[in-house]
């Protein structure tokens, strides 16, 4: 986006801004370390606007300091009456016209970027590009569902995408309004309750590696007590690995427990009727709770804990404490679950995998 810069004199400030801001935040969650085309475009716009604004602040501050220091009332001046100046047309024209020019400098790239970011023609029915990846995102009270409609694959809580291409999203909420945001990769878009919103993102391979292979996604619209905990993870993969993952998902066999403990866990899973809400088939869409088909391959528990057996048991034992207001609490008798049952269930869940 730098080529849009209409005015050379901003460059020095621009560089300074970039230097100041780049150190901020963690690469997997900060908007200041852009990890894709969208975030890049927005970051450049941020730098441009920040530079203009810092320029304004500098001018105001210099004037301000001068005025405040120079014109303070001194001893002996108690009865001095300064000249009563009415105004100055010339000055007033100057500080009307210069801001207008500055705003035009900002407005042109803003409008241009706004239209670019809204360009979703490859996902529209009439102009559909067969190669464009489309993902349906459904936001639910404190969890996210990701459906790959062209491939008949569904997953939850962990978004898997290919790097280096534009990925198109359909966004919708099932209960209350949420907002879909992956800070490092691009700005947010609301998931409304009544209409599908569309936008695209691009995930950069190099930036993904710098961020450790995993980005944080967040809900950015107040949606209830656990709004703060409605995180998800984003795992961008190189194109081939992504294709492999899709085909693994498509060809996944129903899970067969390989150990006694896991078999026992499957029984617990059925006995507590987890299956009523959670699908364990890669293609099955159940709007009630996250699909668990590839649960064993995820990198977090409930979007907020590190992926360990300990944390999984903690979560199942008392979901309310870790995500207040969630819809799982009370749907099964978690208070009376025994340690053995928890061990078995955890073993079963952590072995739900599609990749070998």
């Amino acid at each position: 986006m730098k080529k849009w810069l209409p005015n050379m004199r901003f460059f020095s400030l621009f560089g300074l801004m970039a230097l100041l801001l780049a150190g901020c935040g963690k690469p997997f969650v900060s908007t200041l370390q852009p990890a894709g085309e969208v975030a890049d475009m927005q970051y450049s716009l941020m730098l441009l606007s920040t530079s203009i604004m810092v320029l304004v602040i500098i001018v105001v501050t210099i004037l301000f300091v001068y005025v405040v220091v120079r014109f303070r009332r001194k001893a002996g001046d108690e009865n001095t009456i300064p000249k009563q100046v009415e105004g100055s047309h010339k000055l007033e024209m100057i500080w009307t016209i210069i801001p207008i020019l500055l705003l035009i400098i900002l407005a042109v790239p803003t409008v241009s970027a706004t239209f670019k970011l809204a360009d979703v023609t490859p996902m529209e029915e009439e102009t559909r590009d067969e190669n464009a990846l489309v993902i349906n995102v459904t936001a639910n009270l404190y969890w996210w569902e990701f459906e790959y409609p062209d491939h008949g694959v569904i997953t939850a809580q962990e978004l898997i995408v290919p790097t280096g291409e534009r990925v198109y999203f359909n966004l919708l909420a099932s209960d209350v309004k949420h907002s879909f945001w992956i800070p490092a990769v691009g700005g947010k878009m609301d998931t409304n309750t009544e209409n599908v919103n569309k936008f695209w993102l691009e995930f950069d391979q190099q930036a993904t590696e710098n961020a450790g292979g995993l980005f944080y996604g967040k809900c950015a619209e107040l949606c209830g007590p656990s709004h703060a905990l409605m995180d998800f993870k984003v795992k961008p993969l190189p194109k081939e690995e992504f294709d492999q993952w899709i085909s693994d998902m498509q060809n996944a066999e129903p899970f067969v427990p390989t150990s006694d403990l896991a078999a026992q866990g499957e029984q617990v899973f059925n006995q507590y009727n987890c299956i009523a809400c959670h699908a364990i088939d890669t293609g099955e869409d159940r709007p009630t709770a996250p699909n668990l088909a590839n649960f064993g391959e995820r990198s977090s528990i409930a979007g907020r804990f590190e992926f360990t057996e300990e944390n999984l048991k903690k979560w199942i034992k008392d979901p309310e404490q870790h995500k207040p207001g969630n819809k799982m609490t009370g749907t099964y008798d978690h208070e009376n679950m025994t340690e053995e049952e928890l061990d078995a269930l955890a073993e079963y869940l952590m072995n739900l995998k599609v990749q070998n």
Binding site: K26, S30, F71, I81, T114, K177, G187, N197, H227
Partner: protein, 623 residues
Amino acid sequence: MSTLTQKKGFGATVWDYLTTVDHKKIAILYLIAGGFFFILGGLEAMFIRIQLAIPDNNFISAGFYNEIMTMHGTTMIFLAAMPLLFALMNAVVPIQIGARDVAFPFLNSLGFWLFFFGGIFLNLSWFLGGAPDAGWTSYASLSLESPGHGIDFYALGLQISGIGTLIGGINFLVTIINMRAPGMTYMRMPLFTWSTFVASALILFAFPALTVGLALLMFDRLFGTGFFVPQMGGNTIIWEHLFWIFGHPEVYILVLPAFGVFSEILATFSRKRLFGYSSMVFATVLIGFLGFMVWAHHMFTTGLGPIANAIFAVATMAIAVPTGIKIFNWLLTMWGGQVRFTVPMLYAVAFIPSFTMGGVTGVMLAAAAADYQFHDTYFVVAHFHYVIVGGVVFGLLAGVTYWWPKMFGRMLDETLGKVTFWLFLIGFHLTFFIQHFLGLMGMPRRIFTFLPGQGFELGNLISTVGAFFMAISTLVLLVNIVKTSINGPKAEADAWGDGRTLEWAVASPAPEYNFKQTPLVRGLDALWVEKMAGKKGLTPAEPLGDIHMPNGSFLPFTISLGLFVASIGLIYQFDDKVWAIPVIFIGFLITFGSMFLRSVIDDHGYHIHKEELMDDDDKGVKA
């Protein structure tokens, strides 16, 4: 000693304030009630900052946090900032235009009591099952989902206090149009009066949108309609539009009067007339007008499409131009002046850079494509606190300390005032500056906690430390008020010695009739004109005569009380409480009964006779 100034007992004083229709006493009522809610909202803010001081904190629970956060915003906007501004407008505007009172003194009182009962009703929710918890914006899908009665309290409480605000706004419009003293043309009105005028016009056009939105919300929640229920053909985006068509002008309703305050103070303590008066008036009107064209910039991520987003982005940027004009005019007002740093002046001076920072982040937010990153993050939180604290709260603190002598007849302590100022200024920047970066680093707003390891720890801790500075500063202000009201020095008519406008020509506090003789205004800064002409007081526009005054009335109190009672009934009717329906009827009976009484009882007011005025030589206009 006139009969008007005899000492009254405590009971009589309370009754006097309950029934008063005098704009100066109503100003004091607004100040006390607004101050109370300001402290309440401040306490809520402290809960928020303590909870967010460290990651994964459990100082308060998630649900309770949402209630606190919602009530902090709602209280600060509707119950603290608005009434405190009304306090200043009531205390000052009628005197500034040379009037004896507002156009409708009875309505003035009604406006206050409606606001007051609405605010109390809203806060009753704390004790009756939980406060509203869907944010001050109360977006429809979440607010319809919210269990309990919190949102019902929000809808009804704001409805009642909103009517009060609307009444107040209309009253000031009529007052400023009709009650100006001879010679007080529009282009001689002080800037505070001008900004009150424009803000009142904004109230007139903006509040009905809120009224409609709240009514629909109430119908959806209490009567099962589906205005905002997509499954029934409704649409939640309509709530967003209605709310922001009100909500954005609301920001200007708050900040324009604050601009007015600064314009007065900067001119007074620079001992210079306001630089570019006519362009200041023009900018004020233009900001008010553009304020209605930009509401959708709060909805850039809602999915309105690139055309709407681009239009609203450019329209929003345009507001920066008149605002910039104001900033430079203020700076040039001080240029070449004799700047004296009293406490109100300190706030006014500190306002200029603080507000500029809030203004420029506003332009950044207007850049729609970049706003997709800023929206609903702490960057926005930082931005609007820079605007509302750096603009409105600084304006209130400046205005209250500036006109305090005029309202209460005593000077505040300058040393304590300066302590308050510095603590507040440092605390303010410490709290909110870092939040810009927290937002850019990926921290969404309205979260009850943040998980460790995302780089948010240090910034949040700094922010919390800053909040404590502001809390301490508020305590010092309270000490100052208590101390000086016991033994503070009495204020002169021209309390600061550099007064330029009419309010500094009447005694401090002003007599209940304001001006013994209506003054003749001979130019901008009417008092300054007379001073420079070597006169001691104003030129009267009429001979000394009897002054007609309105009687006090208890009816505004009861009209408002009735709505309060009826609202309680309305909320509980749907819990199958048998007492609820009778309560609704009793409430409406009180309200409409009071209105009936107001209609049938002839009240011609009373006169203060010429002879009494002549006894009062130490007060009023010395003509």
